[in-house]
């Protein structure tokens, strides 16, 4: 798993059937990557629902969050619509788990429950691997964002 000080590997993943997100295009923003095992499973849903409510706290720090799992775009779209999510879920679907693997958090066919905070220069400033059945919450992300300049 990549750690503080590592360069965040660039990637392009689909956010919807007709839109992709490229990490290096998010210039001038801090990025939070929340890898998680699967749409719909109870713990994930709670975790993504929580981030949906904490978006305004992330925005205060000029940070944008992306959820990433190996689910496909249509699955993400249905899940996102059902839960009224206001941030992108990215599909690490083909080749399966390739981006999760780049970050060292791909295991047993799913993304692990892992968080990364990346600064404006594309350097990882904080990372955390949560036990797979445990919702890591948002406090670690907020503390990490607070410790970064502006």
């Amino acid at each position: 798993m990549l750690q503080q000080g590592d360069k965040a590997p660039d990637f392009t993943l689909s956010a919807t059937p007709d839109r992709t997100v490229t990490l290096s295009s998010q210039q001038g923003k801090k990025i939070i990557l929340a890898f998680y095992p699967a749409d719909w499973s109870p713990v994930c849903s709670d975790q993504m629902a929580l981030y949906n409510e904490t978006l305004r706290l992330f925005e205060k720090h000029n940070a944008v969050i992306f959820g990433i799992s190996v689910d496909g775009v249509w699955c993400h779209q249905a899940f996102s619509k059902d839960r009224h999510l206001h941030f992108d879920l990215l599909a690490d679907f083909e080749p399966k788990g390739a981006v999760s693997d780049l970050y060292g958090v791909y295991k047993d066919g799913v993304s692990q429950r892992a968080l990364f905070v990346i600064d404006e220069t594309g350097t990882i400033q904080w990372s955390y691997l949560s036990p797979i059945g445990e919702n890591p919450g948002a406090d670690g992300i907020l503390s990490a964002l607070e410790s970064l300049p502006g």
Binding site: Q47, E53, A138
Partner: protein, 174 residues
């Protein structure tokens, strides 16, 4: 850890001088909070030494009435009836709607004009949002989440009474 600690902005019931401080982060539309409500009520009757604090953690995207319900409790609080509204909301959770909030306010004999004005008061919304943020800070990741003497309680809320009793549930039944 609970951040910030219990302070004058908090709503406190139970025994205000109690040595055990129990804080709940809750959402009035959350079914699990609804399940926890009678247990907490029972616990406060059974234990004399518990100070109970409720802080708002509305998941407003998942529960459309959660924030309004929190505001209704705060607005009732301005007329000295926070806990009455808190209880009424949980006792009528299945019927939660915009209409229900003013119905409950009437039943509680609140000054309706004042209640309507307070529901729109940004200061109350800020208080609800501050509660939410303090929950996130304190490591709340869903509702209900309890803190016992400032420390997050990770067990099942159905075991709260026995946990606070400091005894095992099976022992207390003997």
């Amino acid at each position: 850890m609970l951040t910030p600690p219990i302070n004058t902005r908090d709503h406190i019931t139970g025994n205000p001088q109690g040595t055990i401080e129990l804080v709940e982060y809750g959402d009035f539309q959350c079914p699990y909070c609804g399940e926890a409500y009678p247990l907490v009520k029972h616990m406060l009757q059974a234990l004399q030494d518990v100070k109970f604090i409720f802080r708002h953690f509305p998941l407003s995207e998942a529960h459309e009435y959660a924030t309004d319900a929190a505001l209704a409790a705060e607005a009732a609080g301005r007329q000295g009836k926070f806990w009455e509204m808190h209880d009424a909301l949980y006792e009528n959770q299945a019927q939660l709607s915009e209409g229900l909030l003013s119905q409950l306010a009437k039943i509680l004999r609140l000054d309706m004009k004042q209640f309507a004005a307070d529901m729109e008061d940004h200061q109350l919304l800020s208080k609800v949002e501050a509660d939410f943020e303090s929950g996130v800070r304190s490591g709340v990741n869903g509702t209900p989440t309890f803190f016992i003497n400032g420390k997050r309680y990770n067990g099942d809320f159905t075991d709260l009474l026995s946990t606070l009793n400091g005894t095992d549930a099976s022992e207390s039944e003997i």
